[in-house]
């Protein structure tokens, strides 16, 4: 809600109508003869050869999948292979004009795009650049296999390198482009501008937008092409990606030189089927996919349907659209019409289409068509074609032989190093800035109004007499987060932050108050209400080399970003063999007072997913230190905050929250109160209720409880907790997550496992009820309360003399609740 945009009721209430412009459909009708002057014979031959290589590569995989054999070489590939036979012209046409600085993102059916983009990049790179790239990639592991053979030149070597790196990756070999951890549906090679393909339909639909954002914000050359299927038009993340990519602010509010549309093409590789569903006529309603562009923005996304069976038509379109992007008028929507002869996967019997249909398309096969056009124009002879085909088959035979050979192309040795994959889950980097240049800011850090205000605040919660200062005078938890983030904005020029109320308002919970004054639009902005795209674009942004803080306000909205948080953000470091880093700090806020869909602690959900770091600080000192650590790191961190305690002061760290920079290592719990009789381990804001419980235990029952604040969930160093339990023999684990399947249970299990002989009673979990969160007035029946903790101690650990329980922690009640599922 920027003030400079005035919403004039007189204007917006005026009658009128929206008039859509025209969307071209297959307008390119030139013959090869007409294009002769635009392409040399060599170029046309290259286009033809690239298509042939892709066709043969996919054919080889099809044979291996269906007959376990290609040209006398046997191999069994149990993994996936979604083939693109029939779509070669679309892939080659898309990649033809793109250079290594242009990034493509793909889908599960992207072998063709990888090869086309790779061959295009190789063609544009100089020998020494190519050699350096190949030598440096994974310490030359892929190159070593290819180098064993003499090559006539570097470009020939690079072609083998591309084919082998891709095939070895498909076969899950360690010498593959991503150490065999990506596989067929995720193979990629960033140095050639080939960014991750995605096994989730439409997965690239928002990630690719983040890459374009990265290019824009960091003023990098090149464009981004998101190659996704026609059926992905039905996916939420794609729509969210489109919404995000077409936000008006790029063209209206961002300052020069950042003003203007994203350098981005949504290229729908429209093979007209989503698995067996026919998108036009059955599962979608757009008739022609390009129509969708009309509804998005006044530019109608420069949408167009192009003939993906004619490589020259595709190249023509990309030439025109690239120009639009260079003029900062993106993004663009392309509907590249094509057809696949092969099924969705080799197991697909194509029962949903007729033989006649497939034959009709084969009749118009792009390779056949292009070949005859070339012959007709005297550019190639039948003999040359035969030689070329033979040469390609021989090359692929050779590549296949290398790829199936386990001594040349081994898989990861998980016997030798059982943790090899485990060690790739996190990069654990410590990097102050992702790029070395001056960060763009509006005012010097010291002049920040909020920072100046904070100087007047009490950085420790209590005065000399142990009396708390007033809230207004106290340096609060939200201030700790703010200081860490502000500091990083002045260190890392790539850092951007965005979400639903990040600018002007200062974040729904006033964490970002003072940032708007400090940062230009392109570093801090509001987004469409698109949690999926907020997280998805952050993933793309980080993949390309930036650091980013997406914020989705309420924790409850994590579900809206489910695929991004569960399938994308945690996976890409490991799936890339750590070629990619993921410095994303996702801020989520656990609510209260707002009922069932605004008050949930979902730490357990994200802690369950391998590849995410999870923290939940409860004090200003910890919040600042952990945010600093998260922002210094190179891993995705889900940073939980609690609305219940944004205004809490620092009660624990002697001297209060330091003004200077410091980090709290992620994974280290902290003793907030020492004790000897009982351990209470708390997660998040429940810390304060645990302390109240400790007070009751002390005052009424003379028991000294040791209160430990988990601070982090993943990773988690248990040594402090185990040491405490060794002393006390008793532990209550508490937090606001609902009880069933919670991470609190996981902690209880670990303690039982690791300290069994020290335990005087099984670890007890005091969590929220397995209900909806009720209204604020009833919340104390839902979230763990101090007396619940005391009751649990009494009932399950050590009966307390004279204690009268208020809650029911008896075996019978637990059994009953389990039986009822509540």
């Amino acid at each position: 809600m920027p003030k400079k945009l005035f919403i004039d009721p007189k204007k917006v209430r005026k009658p009128g109508k929206i008039i859509f412009g025209e969307i071209p459909v297959n307008q390119y009708q030139k013959t090869l003869a007409e294009e002769k002057d635009h392409y040399t014979r060599e170029e046309l031959l290259d286009i033809y050869r690239d298509m042939l290589i892709i066709r043969e590569f996919e054919t080889m995989l099809n044979r291996i999948k269906t007959t376990n054999e290609y040209e006398g070489i046997s191999y069994n590939h149990p993994g996936p292979a979604h083939l693109s036979i029939g779509q070669e012209a679309a892939a080659v046409g898309m990649a033809w004009l793109l250079g290594p600085e242009d990034y493509i993102f793909g889908s599960h059916r992207s072998h063709g795009e990888i090869l086309a983009k790779g061959m295009s990049a190789i063609r544009k790179l100089k020998d020494n650049m190519l050699l350096d790239t190949m030598k440096n990639y994974m310490e030359g592991a892929t190159l070593k296999v290819v180098e064993q053979e003499q090559h006539p030149d570097v470009h020939d070597l690079a072609l083998d390198f591309l084919l082998y790196g891709t095939l070895a990756e498909i076969f899950a070999k360690k010498t593959g482009f991503n150490k065999g951890l990506g596989g067929s549906m995720h193979a990629f090679f960033p140095p050639f501008g080939i960014y991750p393909n995605n096994a989730i339909v439409g997965g690239s639909g928002d990630i690719g937008v983040g890459a374009a954002l990265y290019k824009k914000v960091n003023r990098k050359s090149g464009i981004v092409v998101v190659n996704i299927g026609d059926a992905s038009m039905g996916c939420g993340p794609v729509w969210e990606g489109i919404s995000f990519a077409t936000m008006d602010q790029f063209k209206t509010l961002w300052d020069e030189p950042y003003r203007g549309g994203l350098p981005l093409i949504f290229n729908f590789m429209n093979n007209q089927y989503g698995m067996g569903g026919q998108t036009s006529g059955e599962t979608m309603g757009y008739g022609i996919l390009a129509r969708v562009g009309a509804g998005i923005n006044p530019e109608m996304m420069h949408a167009e349907r192009i003939d993906g069976y004619n490589p020259l038509a595709v190249i023509d379109a990309f030439r025109r659209k690239k120009k639009i992007l260079e003029e900062k008028n993106g993004p663009v929507l392309l509907d590249t019409l094509t057809y696949r002869y092969s099924g969705h996967s080799p197991s697909d019997a194509s029962t949903y289409r007729t033989k006649e249909e497939i034959e009709a398309w084969m009749e118009q096969d792009s390779l056949k068509f292009f070949e005859s056009e070339m012959e007709k124009n005297g550019m190639v002879t039948a003999g040359e074609i035969k030689t070329l085909r033979k040469e390609i088959t021989e090359r692929l035979k050779k590549i296949l032989k290398w790829a199936v050979d386990d001594s040349l192309s081994p898989r990861m040795d998980l016997n030798g190093n059982p943790d090899e994959i485990g060690e790739l889950m996190f990069s654990n980097g410590s990097v102050e800035k992702m790029e070395d240049r001056e960060p763009e800011v509006l005012i010097p850090k010291e002049e920040n109004p909020r920072l100046q205000q904070l100087k007047r605040k009490e950085r420790f919660a209590l005065d000399k007499n142990g009396k708390p200062f007033s809230k207004l005078k106290t340096y609060q938890l939200r201030d700790g987060i703010f200081e860490a983030i502000l500091d990083r904005f002045y260190k890392d020029p790539t850092l951007v932050a965005y979400g639903e109320e990040n600018r002007d308002w200062g974040g729904a919970f006033a964490v970002y108050r003072g940032l708007t004054e400090a940062l230009p639009y392109h570093r801090l902005f509001n987004t469409s209400i698109s949690e999926g795209a907020i997280v998805g674009t952050a993933i793309g942004y980080a993949m390309c080399g930036g650091r980013v803080i997406p914020e989705i306000m309420y924790c409850d909205f994590l579900g809206r970003a489910g695929d991004e948080v569960f399938n994308q953000m945690p996976k890409w470091q490991a799936m890339s063999g750590q070629i990619l880093k993921m410095p994303v700090v996702l801020r989520v806020s656990v609510g209260s007072k707002y009922g069932a869909q605004h008050s949930q602690d979902w730490t357990s959900l994200v802690a369950h997913i391998p590849g995410l770091k999870v923290v939940f600080p409860a004090t200003p000192y910890d919040a600042k230190g952990l945010m600093n650590a998260a922002l210094q790191g190179t891993d995705p961190v889900v940073f939980f905050e609690s609305q219940r305690i944004y205004d809490v002061g620092e009660y624990f760290h002697p001297g209060g929250v330091p003004e200077d920079y410091y980090e709290i290592p992620i994974g280290q719990p902290d003793i907030k109160r020492k004790g000897k009789d009982l351990t209470i381990l708390s997660v998040g804001a429940t810390l304060y209720r645990a302390l109240e419980a400790a007070d009751i235990l002390k005052e009424k029952y003379n028991l000294a409880a040791e209160v430990i604040d988990a601070r982090s969930l993943v990773p988690f160093d248990y040594s402090l907790v185990l040491e405490s339990v060794r002393k006390t023999g008793k532990i209550v684990i508490t937090g606001d997550a609902t009880e069933r399947g919670s991470y609190l249970k996981d902690m209880a299990q670990s303690v039982a496992d690791l300290a069994f002989d020290d335990l005087d009673a099984p670890p007890v979990v005091v969590a929220s009820r397995n209900w909806i969160t009720p209204a604020h007035e009833l919340e104390h029946f839902f979230f763990p309360q101090p007396d619940w903790i005391v009751d649990a101690v009494h009932e399950r650990i050590m009966p307390l003399e004279g204690h009268k329980v208020k809650s029911n922690y008896t075996n019978d009640n637990l059994l009953l609740q389990k039986r009822k599922g509540i």
Binding site: G729, D757, D758, D760, M798
Partner: protein, 447 residues
Amino acid sequence: MAVPVIMPRQGQSVETCVITKWFKEKGDSVEEGDILFSYETDKAAFDEEAKDSGTLLDIFYKEGDEVPVLSTVAVIGEEGESTEKFKTTVPEETLEKEQAQTPDTNQTIETPETTSTKETIETTETLKISPRAKKLAEQKGVNYMKLKGTGPGGRIIERDIRKALEKQLVITPLARKKMEKEHLAVPPEKAASGERVTSRDLVEASAVPAAEGAYHEEPLTRMRKLIADSMFRSLQNAAQLTHHISADARKIQALRKKVKPLAEAGQLPNITLNDMVSYALVRALVKHPEINGHFLGESVRIFHHIHLGVAVDTKRGLMVPVIRDADLLTLNGLSIRMKELAAECQAGSINPDLLLPENASFTLTNLGAFGIEYFTPVLNLPQMGILGVNTIRYQPAQLEDGGFGFIPRIGLSLTYDHRAIDGAPASRFLQTVVKEIENFNPQIEKL
């Protein structure tokens, strides 16, 4: 709730029993204690009483069926209850389990007082102790078996062990602090007083024997545990008391004198004074069948023959093998059997069934060799009596010639279960034993 009626196990080696007669039919109402059926092993016949009241809901085996022990024979419960779940007992598995707990004969030998396996399981089930409390108890040598737990569901938890540790020693916090800091200790007389220990009571640690090192703990052997348990149960579960008397031993001493050289010459078995007293006891028991048997709470089981348990001291501990049908043996035979069994006990090769208290009808124990003048033997339940034999003492007495002199008298201590037998009949029985000793005159056949 419906409860199963289980075929009891009679003796370790018994695997099946045959039902000989049903006294109740399906659908009959039964009272606790009613005889349900009788059954027999290859050695003996038994009656099975109902342990619960209710309706006999189902009978799974009929007369003449051979039933694996511990399987469910019938179900007692309330009318209309399902008996389905009892049909699927897996006696084989139970058998295996039971056997697994007595894997070899050697170990079985160590269980003369055989507590039934069922009871052993119950003990571990009822004892709930946290790992931490157990560890602490073992470290500090606290016997937690009899502690009352104050944790959830009666679990023994750390504080229970600590309390047990400090039971006799209440030390003020200041004193405790001082003890730790200044290496002071509580003087033993203060500790024994049970009074509160304050810092003023403390003395130099070197002045008192160090708590640790002053003793050491030895875990009980399995056999010792079993003896302990069975002795304890005996004293808890029976109304036992002991009468002391003595018998003129001149006759048996004279006989012993006569036998000894012959035995040394190999012409006679080495008939000892103990053998003779045993023989006299058997004769007395034949005349007093009311004391020859078991007290079963609701009935007494009188045996038709004398199955004499004889206490034997072995290096493993006390064993009591039984001489079956001792009333059918001559003095020679009894003497020989006595020595055979003692030797088997020492060697550990004794048949475990012979060690079951249920298999003896009366027990003899002899501490005379140790010079013991009186003692109170503990009943070998369910037997109703045990006779202790003491040393021979010379006591003044009027002699047959009217003058006074000292005669040897052997002491006898009879412990009996007053629930079964009153004082007068017990005394009469003891008189008979005395008479049998004083008029000892059996036939001795030369070998």
